[in-house]
Amino acid sequence: MSAPKALPQSLQTNPLLSTWVRILADHTVQVFSGKVELGQGIVTAMAQIAAEELDIGFDQLRITSGDTRVSPDEWYTAGSQSIEVGGAAMRLVCAEVRSLFLAQAAIQLGENVQNISVHRGQFSSAKGSTSYWEMRDLVDLGRAFSASATPKSHGLHAVVGRPAARLDIAAKVSGAAFVQDMELPGMLFGRILRPPTLGTTLLSLDAEQIRKMPGVAHVLVSGSFVGIAALREEQALKALEKARSLARWSEAPGMPEPGDIAEVLRHLPSTRAVTYSQGDEPSGRADKGFTASYSRPYLAHASIGTSSALAQLEAGQLTIWSHTQGPHHLRAQIAKVMQMPLEAVNIIHRDGAGCYGHNGADDVALDAALLARACAQPVLVVWTREDELVWSPSGSAMLVEMKASLDANQQLSAWSHELWSHTHIKRPGWAEGVNLLAAWHMDPPHPVPPAKDMPLPAGGGDRNAIPLYNIPRVEVVYNFIADMPLRVSALRTLGAQTNVFAIESFLDEIASEVGIDPVEFRLRHQSDPRARAVIEAAAKAAGWRTGAIGDEARGMGMGFSRYKNMSAYCAVVTEIEVTQSIRVLRAVAAVDAGQIVNPDGLRNQIEGGILQAISWTLKEAMHWDRERLTSRSWEDYPILRFDEVPAIEVVLIDRPDLPGLGAGECAAGPTSAALGNALFQAMGLRMRDLPLTPERIARALA
């Protein structure tokens, strides 16, 4: 076994076996995970890992995730880390638990451990049989993990590596299943009146008029925070509309001149830092030099269900049911704002709609807590669609300026990647201060904490900015824009989508300039066999023809990356047809995520990543005028529709002998680049600013 310092972070923080596994009297095994279901199927994958290592049936397993009363603190469920870190911890713990019981069974049965087999929790040999449940009082799990057991080798896997039906889907397609669907006796319905923009404050509100409305139980006004609770949901909505019409706000501080996102970012104050550098500048003049710049706008998380939480304050205990990605972080932040001891606050994860990063899940938990305390009754708060688009953090806009040189052999000799962006993470519990909306608005307010991005190697704005190709000289420069005209935080892939779009578009441009097939050009600069394998597999599955050029309408393009340069490898080929807009006919992905836990779950994540990235790349941008955001409904923020969906093929390269690699975000960057490159192949038109809308294509062609 490896030294303790190489243990997964989750296990270093939570070493006690009983934090993870308990044998229950009812002939089940209870496992606890800090990683939560976001629609990515993680709870099912965790159950597969636990059932595999414990040798119990799925039906004998209970799994609880994200409940601060009992679950291990496993940071956030984010960054495609759940299998890599949480899954690795679960595997090690369950292997050790099984081996402790196996040793006990050897004593019970008077048998050598080698002669005992374990199946559905029964330990059997020629001499007899016992079980986890018969031995539950004989083995003490209240001990620290000691790395005394080795998990099963992949050849022995019967559950891991095979498709498993998600544990949650049947309930979701038939009735109540989400936090929004919960009810408690005496529960009120809450809505929040938000300011019209960032930086405006409430001047006046005649709350008495609202309190007189039918069903209104409470109006909480604290500074610029206005919360309303009513007996019936439609009454809360009517009261919200009334409050909106009555509230007077300070003048908006103003938004940057709308328009070209590159210009907006260039004009905001920034600080410049070299975040990565390798090799020396090539001596002498480069044979050929290239420059180009790429951008993406601010993007909404745009969850289909709006953020929601249920809170109850009873006997000094505040309990919040929430779809947060970081229950323990949220707990600490809520305790601070509510001025309650940590032990008096419980966060219990309940599923919400997919979040794709930091949406309003944490903010609405505080909204509900404040209202539940004010009303002394449980309150379910549900954000409006407008709240969700305007007040959930957006993904940061980005600008990337690329420079590269080729040597006389048409090999890349130097590469520079200079980007402009805001932070890509401003989650509650990340850095100092309180990152919860109501805390900034209430009286007295908590200050909005300063922005701090995630550093490399994982990276935030510079995630995946280091090209994964053999280039002697590479430099990454980050112009960090601390202030933001709209609220931003983590959106699926952080900066990786834009950086990979820029890198892979730029490579394509250079390949085309020197007359080398773009797939061939990538392979000439690629010595990592796993990277080569996905590039070759995607090209083969898509029917890539070397040197093909488009016919002014149809084209194919490729994009590749290894997510975070340390998680899953992914190459995507898209085939498009351009009429008035880009129609994606087909997307083919090849993925190497190391050992696969649930192949069907992985496919589902890749398909979803591709489709979401098509939506981002072709359609999405947050819009504003000089005063406020104008993307306030689905009409102002269109996303991919059913009639725009291509055929998708996913090739999985299983590496059962290698560690699992996070894969939930690996397809986005390659997909975006593949679309831009396909447009170029089809029409010879290079578009470097996202989204690739019909209006922009028409303008570029004019």
């Binding site: 919400g352 997919g354 059913f642 969906v645």
Partner: protein, 158 residues
Amino acid sequence: MSEQFNLHVNGKPHQVQAEGSTPLLYILRNDLKLKGTRFGCGAGHCGACTVLLDNKAVQSCDTPLWSVVGHQVSTIESLGDAKAPGRLQKAFIEMQAAQCGYCINGIIMAAEALLRANPDPSDADIVAALERNLCRCGTHVRVLQAIQHAVRSTGAAQ
């Protein structure tokens, strides 16, 4: 003004007390406890709240209570439950056609309306029937496959 309304939901009569302008969505979820119909936007844009009104798909978030009197309302719960799922639910479970699953019930109800009107729809008919439904996780391909699967398995059963 709050009034009494007589409704027919999932084949049963119900009486509710509410204002006539109340969106049907909240009556279903809060008065009748039919939580499978979900709020998404409140403006009829996303389809998460889709139910059937006399076999036609409607968005319950912008359908006022008064307008459904004298009509048959059907929600996802009328199709089946987790133990005995209906044909579409079964197909969605078999094809694992969900990621977060929040949009799925509205999509299933839009598909149910299609299948009631046209038991043998083409792929294009299916796409057209989902014109008003949004999915953010990118489960579209599986959703289309699940509906096709339901059509085929129903055809085989007949």
